[in-house]
């Protein structure tokens, strides 16, 4: 068996890196090269992030300035702005407001922070950091992108239909999502949403299966699991979570489609619409919530873990110190991955579930604080007394740690079944997950782009613009989400079109206006990044081979790696990825492909033994 494998790998290696000229179509469009696919995911993700951000700007205008005349938006939004005949004032359509919120959530969670994040960095870094020519199956990888593209196209088209895109919120709870007659966005828009998400799930599974198979099977010689960079560990665990949870969403979507189009009653029971009783009997909307959140909660970690992995790598490199607690980091990521599957019902505390079940889920939820705290402490202790180099990537990584802590703390409140009765469905929840999942994961993604940009495009991004981008985003995000906690504690419910109709909430008009201004400014700051990104692809300063003095294998490739990544043989791996500032070493980093025999001055005793250097010169050791 093992001999057969070796033949196969050699064969693959030779197949893949023949330097034949490729046409434009096979090189840039229908490419099977993991680096090109990664860039396709990244640029699609950036486009989606801009769209998703713009949607939030529109509904923030509505929330912050409810009396505003929105007639000026009519050229873009058309009929979604209703003009009052008497006053000539333009008002955002109420149902379209719900569609905006729904699509903002869907786009950001799935299209940006799942496909844009895992799709980009798992694809780009897995083969480069484990020392492989390409993914286990380049063809499946290409399919993964094009399924994502088809899904994107359908989701995008749903903006242009007369009934508007899906508007039952990103969690698509039935009966709202199951009954086309319930609201305008539950009609064709919801159907397109479901089709797009089914294609998206196929794309994620094709990608995830490939990531797992590649990490397990295509590691270079010497790259044992205990020598893997933490980025790869994070992508690997993320892919496993996705493989186990996305099929469950597919099942839920299937049952929902049957309810919508074939008249079954999985999630529908005893409903009156317009005074008419529907024939559906015996369904359970709570069942949908169980199925949805069995995906939905692990999805939180699908979004977050890759960013945590990226951050581990960047913080260690730019602190010029080994990551503190390498094995603890792996262990805590495994712990998070396992726990993510047994806490889904904490999203359902107020559905009338058995209080005993609630307390079990509360306990399990609070246990997640343990591995999360281990990770936070390890980041801080890695920074402690390091020779910190503040590259833009490093700033964003530290920003992630800040959001992860301040957003994570409020998770402890929300995880309490009793407190959740007060806080459920208020802006407190919105503030919590936008900090810990949204902003933290987003910062990880941005950090990754700044850090690996030289490897992707052979050029550097502009540093100064990076710093401006960081400070405006970092301050802006806190200005948005910190006040939002207070609004939530005051009892503002999520997803309401207007608060000015309620006396109880009118005291917070100023704060809402403040949040909206901060949100618009923060969105504008992202355009700095977009400019920097596209400008630097063409006009950036040329990169060197290893600009950050990092230790991992991707920096052993040529500045712009070709098809097959390494022109010669694949490097072999001798040491873990965090030999930074090793006492005695000539430089403050030793790359993973440097044998211990070449670094006698810095080897620890057991490494000296590994290198065979203690054996009185003849390099002979005894083997049983």
């Amino acid at each position: 068996m093992s001999t057969a494998n070796i033949d196969l790998m050699d064969e693959m290696g030779h197949d893949d890196h023949d330097h034949h000229e490729q046409g434009f179509l096979s090189k840039y469009i229908f490419s099977t090269d993991h680096k090109t696919i990664a860039k396709q995911f990244l640029i699609s993700g950036i486009i989606w992030a801009i769209i998703g951000g713009l949607l939030s700007v529109v509904f923030r205008l509505q929330l912050g300035f409810p009396d505003m005349d929105m007639a000026w938006l009519r050229p873009i939004l058309g009929e979604w702005i209703n003009i009052d005949a008497a006053t000539g004032m333009g008002k955002l359509d109420t149902e379209f407001y719900l569609a905006l919120v729904t699509m903002h959530g869907t786009i950001m969670v799935f299209f940006v922070l799942t496909a844009g994040l895992s799709g980009t960095f798992s694809n780009f870094l897995i083969p480069l950091q484990i020392g492989a020519r390409d993914m286990a199956s380049g063809f499946m990888n290409m399919l993964s992108y094009w399924f994502f593209f088809a899904s994107s196209a359908i989701m995008f088209i749903s903006f242009f239909i007369s009934t508007g895109p899906a508007s039952g919120s990103w969690v698509i709870y039935p009966p709202l999502s199951a009954l086309p007659q319930s609201m305008s966005g539950a009609g064709l828009g919801m159907t397109l949403w479901l089709v797009a998400m089914a294609l998206f799930i196929v794309s994620t599974l094709l990608g995830g299966i490939n990531y797992i198979a590649t990490v397990i099977n295509l590691r270079t010689d010497g790259m044992s699991f205990t020598k893997l960079p933490l980025t790869i560990w994070a992508f690997f665990l993320t892919a496993i979570i996705g493989l186990l949870s996305f099929p469950v969403l597919l099942s839920a979507a299937l049952l929902l489609i049957l309810d919508r189009s074939f008249g079954t009653s999985f999630f529908l029971s005893e409903i009156y619409i317009g005074g008419e009783a529907l024939p559906n009997m015996g369904g359970s909307p709570i069942l949908f919530q169980h199925l949805f959140w069995f995906l939905g909660h692990p999805e939180v970690y699908i979004v977050l873990l890759p960013s945590l992995g990226i951050t581990s790598e960047i913080i260690a490199t730019n602190s010029r110190k080994p990551i503190f607690g390498y094995k603890a980091m792996i262990g805590s990521m495994m712990g998070i991955a396992i726990l993510s599957f047994v806490v889904w019902a904490h999203h359902m505390f107020v559905t009338g579930m058995n209080p005993f079940a609630g307390s079990i889920f509360m306990l399990l939820t609070l246990i997640i604080a343990v591995p999360s705290a281990i990770k936070a402490f390890n980041y801080i202790t890695t920074l402690w007394k390091g020779n910190i180099i503040f590259t833009p990537a490093m700033m964003f990584s530290i920003g992630l740690v800040s959001f992860f802590i301040s957003g994570g703390v409020t998770g402890i409140f929300l995880g309490n079944a009793a407190l959740d009765i007060q806080l459920h469905d208020t802006y407190f929840v919105t503030a919590h997950f936008h900090l810990v999942m949204g902003s933290a994961a987003f910062f990880g993604m941005i950090a990754g782009v700044y850090h690996w940009f030289p490897k992707m495009f052979g050029r550097m991004m502009n540093r100064k613009l990076g710093y401006i981008h960081f400070w405006t985003s970092f301050i802006g995000i806190y200005l948005i989400f910190f006040p939002m906690h207070y609004i939530g504690i005051a009892g503002f419910p999520r997803r309401y079109y207007s608060f000015t109709n309620f006396d109880a909430f009118s005291t917070f008009t100023d704060l809402n206006a403040f949040i909206s201004i901060a949100a618009i400014a923060t969105f504008a700051a992202q355009l700095i990044f977009v400019f920097n990104f596209f400008y630097s692809i063409f006009k950036g300063r040329r990169a060197t081979k290893n600009p950050w003095n990092s230790t991992t294998l991707e920096w052993t490739t040529p500045i712009e790696p070709g098809h097959g990544n390494w022109p010669g043989a694949i490097p072999k791996v001798y040491r873990w990825p965090y030999d930074l500032s090793k006492p005695g070493a000539k430089e403050d980093f030793i790359m993973q492909d440097v044998p211990y025999a070449e670094t006698p001055e810095s080897n620890l005793p057991h490494e000296q033994e590994l290198a065979g250097l203690e054996d009185k010169g003849d390099n002979t050791i005894k083997v049983d």
């Binding site: 199956s137 198979a213 099977n217 493989l243 099929p247 839920a252 008249g263 999985f266 169980h290 002979t620």
Partner: protein
């Protein structure tokens, strides 16, 4: 035994299963999760009450036996390919393919019987779930039949049938998996219906 070797840090070859085989296994894991979701949804929904109870058609025994036999013939085709027996391989594949079709028609027959007993797709979820479980399994079985069809075409194109034994081992694994999946569903239905 003690041998003396001149070693200087040889990086170890890393464990590796054939990536294609591994991808197939991961694919099967994702299918398992689809059915885990459906069957646990079944249990959760059933626990809430308001659930129709009906007799599981005994014809399901027939389809189960057919699928088990088809697994045996699929295995026989693989063994024959390893022995380079082209005729038996093709025969085995054809018989497996035929039994797969018979299985599907038996499932449709079972649906007709269910309809005669007033158990419909539309109506109480107790009935709907049965149709969905059988339907989603049938959908995957059709994918298995397409896979078998591809293998049949390959077996006719190959000069020597042993050339395709690796690919055949993958399709056979998938076919066994579909059989095992059905047995799981059947046992599940017997216990919980």
């Amino acid at each position: 035994m003690v041998t003396e070797l001149h070693i200087k840090e040889v990086p170890q070859k890393q464990l590796g299963i054939n990536p294609k085989k591994f991808i197939l296994w991961l694919f099967m894991v994702s299918i398992v999760m689809v059915f885990a979701a459906l069957t646990s949804g079944f249990i959760v929904r059933q626990a809430e009450g308001n659930w129709i109870i009906y007799e599981l058609p005994s014809q399901l025994w027939i389809s189960t036996v057919i699928l088990v036999v088809s697994s045996l013939t699929a295995h026989w085709a693989l063994k024959s390919a390893q022995k380079s027996n082209s005729l038996q391989t093709k025969l085995g594949l054809w018989v497996t393919f035929g039994l797969g079709l018979v299985f599907l028609s038996t499932q449709v027959w079972v649906w007709e019987i269910l309809v005669q007993h007033d158990v419909y797709l539309v109506g109480n979820p107790g009935g709907s779930f049965l149709y969905v479980l059988m339907g989603v399994h049938a959908f995957h079985l059709i994918s298995g039949l397409i896979y078998l069809m591809i293998m049949l075409v390959k077996s006719y194109r190959a000069n020597e049938v042993s050339e395709i034994q690796f690919q055949l081992s993958l399709s056979t694994t998938y076919w066994h998996f579909l059989g095992g999946l059905w047995i799981y569903l059947y046992v599940f239905l017997i216990i919980y219906h």
